[in-house]
Symmetry: C2
Subunit: 343 residues, 2 copies
């Protein structure tokens, strides 16, 4: 059977209507809703076909129809109307490139959540493959060495190292020069064992410290551990009865946001897909996280400068307003881009 234009129109009408109301939609509604001027009986026949083809389902005999995952997928793939939305609140965020990254991201999450009425998550950019910009060792007190590591994009990482020996100012200065001259401008892949050995050799009796610093640098750049995720609006999930009609479901859903590594899975998936246009939609069972099978997730990758990539995600019910969400994300991407890349 073929999905001709009329069937498509009906499918679209069913989905649109269901997105709005959340109720199964019947043939009579469609008959009035569309400009097809068909009677409900005709629509019924068509809907029967659509059901057979798997685009819509009946929750129970003689109820209206609701879209299946396949239906949503078709809708998202072919029927979206790009309505570029203006996110007014977001305008106020621009301009402060070197503002603390985390306040910025936190705010982005909040704006997204309140704007869409879904839950939002934003991951801090992962600086895998990114360049080291600056290292600074300072002796804070005897036996305690503070290592500050700055990575391209002004991401800053502090670590306190405990050292046995007490160092004089000059030694610290020497170490700083040593480290900076050799390591600055390199990305993690370029710091190999040979180089570490050479550094240690030059550091002489302080090779131990160099080792520790290198570890700290590796740690700073290693992204997994540092995967910070900001979320907002998880209570929005409670607004959608189909997601939280019983306690366990609700609890499970709220719980997802507690465990960072669960959300991390979403991120992995998104980032690993290199050739995406930037926006990705997971509908129902398509999501990599099993416990979100009743949700849809829309993710977008943002880029700040060389290879610094983070993810923004919106999590909501399957009947989310894909148009709006995708539009919102797109404008947001644009804004971030113009703040961090063009300028």
């Amino acid at each position: 059977m073929e999905l001709d234009e009329r069937k498509q129109k009906i499918l679209q009408a069913v989905i649109r209507n269901y997105l709005e109301t959340g109720e199964p939609v019947g043939s009579r509604t469609i008959s009035k809703y569309t400009d097809l001027n068909l009677s409900s009986a005709t629509i019924r026949n068509e809907m029967s076909d659509l059901e057979e083809m798997g685009y819509i389902v009946q929750p129970y005999t003689s109820a209206g129809r609701i879209p299946s995952d396949k239906g949503y997928r078709f809708y998202v793939d072919t029927m979206l109307e790009e309505k570029e939305r203006e996110i007014e609140e977001l305008k106020g965020l621009l301009g402060e490139k070197d503002e603390k990254m985390d306040t910025m991201l936190k705010r982005v999450a909040r704006v997204l959540a309140t704007n869409t009425n879904y839950a939002a998550m934003v991951t801090a950019p992962r600086y895998r493959g990114n360049k080291l910009k600056f290292i600074q060792l300072s002796q804070v007190e005897a036996g305690q060495l503070l290592a500050v590591i700055v990575v391209e994009g002004n991401v800053i990482k502090n670590t306190i190292l405990n050292v046995d020996e007490s160092l004089d100012a000059e030694t610290v200065l020497k170490l700083n020069i040593l480290l900076n001259t050799h390591l600055n401008g390199l990305c993690i892949d370029e710091i190999n064992l040979a180089m570490i050995a050479e550094l240690k050799r030059q550091a002489g009796i302080h090779s131990g410290i160099v080792g520790e610093v290198i570890d700290a640098v590796a740690e700073a750049i290693r992204s997994d551990e540092d995967l910070k995720i900001y979320t907002s609006g998880r209570n929005n999930m409670l607004k959608y009865p189909e997601l939280t009609d019983n306690r366990e479901k609700a609890s499970e859903l709220i719980d997802i946001f507690e465990e960072e590594h669960t959300l991390g899975k979403l991120v992995e998936e998104t980032l690993s897909d290199d050739n995406n246009t930037g926006i990705q939609v997971y509908i129902g069972s398509e999501t990599p996280v099993q416990s979100m099978k009743d949700c849809s997730v829309v993710t977008a990758t943002y880029e700040l400068g060389d290879g610094m990539r983070g993810t923004i995600g919106i999590i909501g019910p399957k009947r989310m307003d894909y148009d709006k969400v995708i539009g919102t994300l797109k404008t947001l991407m644009g804004q971030l881009d113009s703040i961090y890349n063009k300028k």
Copy 2:
């Protein structure tokens, strides 16, 4: 009417039972439950008295009784059995004094939440009145100056300053020495205008930078803005039907955790009370946050060194296991104390 020993025993039995079951408790239950060897009829009379005195209430005519806020209050004030609990998982946390503070606190929150089955929050210590330990300026690139500020307790704060001028290494070194010699060991109150003026004078043409650094220091120490709160287990709230029997209630409750300044109110309250023993219990309407009037909140203040104080809070239903929660908090306080203060 007097609250004689028998009445107390009955009150206690009612509360204990209600804490366990969450169901209104009837006279017959008490009659069997206690070692008083009284018939249900007698208990009924006593319960009638207790109700008249305001310690218990009937949710509706001819149902069992549940404790009122006053009842809980009496219970908490006079009837708690200190069962010092061991929090096994917590043992693993010790020893790492200079570990990153925030991972530590996050973990504390999680352990508390899973251990008690309530929601937990932990605020990072506010270092009001705390001493500056170390300042380090470094030129990261032309026009960008990185200021690292370390406060007692190894709380580290980074700021990037944009400066017009490009400085040579020697100047930066001089500024560092200048700042450190004058400011180290001081707390925010001790850095007055006269001192700032003197510093600026000595900095000569770089007085502008000094000004910015001082601002950054002030910002670093100013606690309100930096009030970080770690939460965990908010989905636990969904486990208690009386808190989340309808959507709005649930949503409102989950929402509380989203807004840091709401939780902040609890903290304010706790910290401002100087002469407390360290643990404070707010029952129902006693809490400073209106939207938590169906909850109880148990907060504790922890101290790390000189005046660095933070708050730990457990939020749950009024029928929370006060014994357990208070016990848990107490042992936890002890552990924190031994890690950070004794050592």
